[in-house]
Symmetry: C2
Subunit: 192 residues, 2 copies
């Protein structure tokens, strides 16, 4: 009936509120540690988002002003509604391409504890192949253009490449441990 205010932010909020009800200010802080050292969310994004999620019934406002004694002042605590929980589950079940995007992946990973083992694996593998595609594109492009590039451009390219490699190695380790634990206790019926 209204917004569609972003995928990632909404998901992040849903995921955080699933653990415990929170008010906007606190939510932002957690969001920013969650999203990693890069990119922070501003109030100008968060509050409108909460407003929309409230309007679409994903979350409910629990005005906790009166509650906890005379200590804390008017702050609006949000919690998930049944609909919100449902939406979160849908999102967490999604292991498709949308989950291997740069922005999505971090958030999806942060909520792995609430994600099924097979979906985790799918996301990890998808992310890895995504990075490998990118790696290949760079290397071929670099192969064609080498020698024409100055020292710095080359250095930059090299560094970017190594970053991707490192990321892939990280994913490899994670995938290995995931697979090991799935094999150890195959309770969640691997599709394979």
């Amino acid at each position: 009936m209204s917004s569609k205010r972003s995928g990632v932010l909404e998901l992040a909020v849903l995921g955080l509120l699933h653990t415990s009800p929170l008010h906007g200010y606190e939510l932002r802080k957690r969001l920013n540690t969650l999203l990693g050292p890069f990119r922070a969310i501003s109030y100008g994004s968060l509050y409108p988002c909460l407003k929309d999620m409230l309007a679409s019934g994903l979350i409910a406002a629990d005005d906790a002003a009166s509650e906890s004694g005379p200590g804390r002042r008017s702050r609006i605590v949000y919690k998930l509604t049944a609909e919100g929980k449902e939406r979160l589950q849908e999102q967490l079940a999604e292991g498709g391409p949308s989950a291997w995007d740069d922005e999505s992946f971090g958030v999806r990973f942060a909520f792995f504890a609430q994600t099924d083992a097979d979906v985790r694996l799918k996301i990890l593998e998808g992310r890895r192949s995504r990075l490998e595609e990118r790696r290949e594109k760079v290397t071929t492009g670099l192969g064609r253009a080498r020698e024409k590039l100055d020292r710095y451009t080359l250095e930059l390219q090299q560094h970017g490449l190594e970053s991707v490699d490192r990321e892939v190695r990280w994913l490899n380790e994670l995938i290995a441990t995931e697979r090991a634990s799935v094999n150890a206790r195959p309770r969640s019926a691997a599709t394979n």
Copy 2:
């Protein structure tokens, strides 16, 4: 008299056109290798940008349709105007905080070959301290919240931290070589 269509994109275009005149399509390709494996520019950004830069006199269109035989079709080749070159020089002389941003830094670095040695050093050092700030913020935040975080969140945080560390090490090496070459032939009057 109009736009202000982005800083980075404009700078990237100026820098690329400084080497040689190019048309939009080709420009985009180079832009995307330049900007690294992450983030690519779309035509929807580039063409309007070129339009604006044309309007503000930074670049000139050299319609090369007739020129090179019957081979190539109508494609608009852009080159820097005197004003454009001037603007580029201004930008390249800027070694202040704006140059250590995530988006800016990559582009600034890519044009280091056209940048004064002292400015290069300033940018490198600025970038490094920027990352170190970030690192510190993460570690303190992590120190406060450790033990309450699940395995995956922790893993993510850890990985982010290592990425930053790696970046810092890279910068350290670059700074060292820069300093060495400045000391070797101190032609560009180090401020120190």
